[in-house]
Symmetry: C2
Subunit: 240 residues, 2 copies
């Protein structure tokens, strides 16, 4: 195994064992390199890798620190991974979201504070009557994020956040190609909000299911026609 990989494991172990706690500063490069028995170059590769997944945080001119290691931070790195998946596997991600979102919504109906619910309602009102597709999607992301956050489970929240990336793209296409989608989205958001405000977890769950399933159904059709050489519908545009 390359020394760099060994270094990654060593640092990982130092953190897991508690030798390095969240927020702690690592020894300086030269020192740590000597301690782990490798060169600074190799150590830097290890640090950079751990940095990408948000385990370490290097500040030039200061030092290298262990992040808070909170689930949201670490799972945030998954967004990076999800970015690599385009058209073909988006449906699989959406299917997972279709499982998690209703559950999160139901939890939110039970756990959200009254203040949070008020803020959730305000989000719905902030949208203009004829919003741009971008504004709609941004508002949609905020709406679902607040609900996910309201579930009280940071892991669930972060996971949904990561999965929302591809969904957001899908929504943009949908907004561009399906006229009734905007009105329908607003209707469903209102219904979800009402259910949460009424503390009706099962109702909230159902509306969330309907909501995500709608996107999924549309996307399935869109991709199905795109893959079909005999289809006349225009295929989904490539990422620019």
């Amino acid at each position: 195994m390359p020394v760099t990989d060994v270094a990654i494991d060593k640092i990982k172990d130092m953190i897991i064992s508690g030798e390095l706690a969240p927020g702690d500063r690592l020894p300086k490069e030269a020192e740590l390199a000597q301690r782990l028995g490798l060169s600074r170059s190799s150590l830097r590769e290890a640090v950079k890798a751990l940095c990408l997944i948000r385990v370490l945080d290097v500040r030039q001119g200061d030092g290298t620190y262990v992040t808070s290691l909170e689930p949201n931070l670490l799972l945030d790195a998954m967004t990076f991974v999800v970015d690599f998946h385009r058209d073909d596997t988006v449906l699989d991600f959406l299917a997972v979201r279709r499982i998690l979102e209703p559950a999160a919504t139901a939890l939110a109906a039970l756990h959200m504070s009254d203040d949070d619910i008020t803020e959730l309602g305000q989000l719905l009102g902030e949208l203009e009557d004829s919003p741009t597709v971008e504004a709609l999607v941004a508002n949609d992301l905020q709406f679902h994020r607040k609900i996910a956050d309201g579930s009280g489970n940071p892991v669930l929240c972060s996971l949904l956040d990561s999965l929302s990336g591809p969904t957001a793209r899908a929504r943009i296409w949908r907004g561009l190609t399906q006229e009734g989608a905007v009105a329908k989205t607003r209707e469903q958001h209102s219904a979800i909000y009402e259910a949460i405000a009424a503390r009706e977890p099962e109702l909230a769950r159902s509306w969330a299911t309907v909501h995500v399933a709608g996107v999924e159904q549309w996307l399935r059709n869109a991709l199905g026609t795109a893959d079909d050489p005999t289809a006349d519908a225009e295929p989904a545009a490539e990422a620019s």
Copy 2:
């Protein structure tokens, strides 16, 4: 932004744009470094980082390649992330698993091939009458992995795989401290298998819920977090 981070983004873009397809070989270090306008050292840091999340695969003496980018590979990197979370957040991960596992089991009841179901049954039989805790946990992991795989959704499968890490540890503790757990686990596994074999998704879902909830309940008590009044909330049933 550091040069290395720019390089990471550049390489990422090269892949997403299609310039580098899965399986392709990257230009050699020196060449790519010049092309991206940085030194080999910095480039290597970028490559190492992308390597950690399984986007690139370097083979000494050969070259650097883009991986297949399949969801299972990329989400596999999440296992690394999950490893950083111990006692305190395990419950949150388990709660997510409690949402996904029943759904996956229900899907498996619908989608698994007869051959796969046969193999699943064989897994149950392979276990000795008085297995060691380690053997039991290993068998358990295989069992659930096969079901997750049977859901037909690679994203769901990989996600569950990652979440099973902490759960496995929990099971080991449980096996060591709770005597009846072994027998109960085998009973529930059999029930899940029977439900899948009978193509009864809702029955399979329910047994899976019971199964995971059992672990969750025990762990909650073991960690002494009986302060959460919502532990028993959120019925998982859902029409269709």
